[in-house]
Amino acid sequence: MRTLPEGFIIPDFGGSAAKATTTSPEPAAGGEATAYRGPRKLALICSKGNLDMAYPGLILGNAAAGEGVEVHMFFTFWGLDIVNKKTHKNLKFTMLGNTAMHMPELGYLRTGLEHASMPQLMGQLPGMTAMATKMMKKQMADLEIPDVPEFLDLLSAAGVHMYACKLSFDMMKMIEADLHPGVEGVISAADFIEISEGAQTIFI
């Protein structure tokens, strides 16, 4: 690589990891000298199996991988449904317990209605969860966001490391054959803590 001409502006393509390691402060004298010095890492703990709670982890993981960050995702408790091939096509969204549920389309009926919270009772009506799920999936598809199984393929291709939680796996009586092929292993919480050393950790 050559040196840049004077005044040449070039986007940051990932020298930042190296920079961070050189500018990070020396560990305080007498302190633990084991501070992590490697490239930027992100650990995502996905614990929810609702459709709307599956996406934040998938989107963040994908975004981080695309930024050259080393990504580790731990699927635990209900989050295991995201990587279970028997369930991940059918994750659902319910408006129950979600007071932020409002429909942009209602604004066409009357101005302001698009910001109105939907009555919780409506969510209990038969078919409401199916309808809300269908709507959310359509909104996602309109924005060209892949469905969950395809998203996992994308993450896997992007080099994101995915793991299933051993305890949840046993508790749900899962079998390895049902795991999405991108899942690298069924590991314990302690294993994940080791793997995610030095990572920024997000619990979802």
């Binding site: 986007p11 930024e67 966001i145 291709a157 080099g159």
Partner: protein, 105 residues
């Protein structure tokens, strides 16, 4: 607006360094810039996604994301990461003379 000059090529960029005018891009310039982002040899495999990005963005007006490169362009995301390691979408957008991709996925 800042202007970059290298080996006789001049092009306007935004504060981050991305192209602001796609017409100021050329294949010769891309080869020079590729060297700057750590791609020593531009092979046919490197050029194919860049060509798709320019064609696609000419139609849509936005830089395609990796997901679109896969879904519409038929490229393998794994290959793109191998060809342009680190930040593939940004590197490719830069070398294709396009703005930074803004899509989330």
């Amino acid at each position: 607006m800042p202007t970059n000059t290298i080996d006789g090529h001049t092009f306007a960029v935004n504060d981050e360094g991305f192209f602001t005018n796609r017409e100021e891009w050329s294949e010769d310039l891309a080869v020079i810039l590729a060297d700057l982002v750590g791609i020593e040899q531009m092979t046919e495999a490197h050029w194919a996604p860049l060509r798709f990005m320019r064609e696609d963005s000419a139609k849509t007006g936005v830089t395609p994301t990796l997901r679109r490169m896969q879904a519409v362009g038929g490229f393998d995301v794994k290959d793109l990461f191998a060809l342009y390691p680190g930040k593939p979408a940004k590197k490719m957008a830069y070398l294709a003379g396009l703005p930074k991709p803004v899509g989330c996925v």
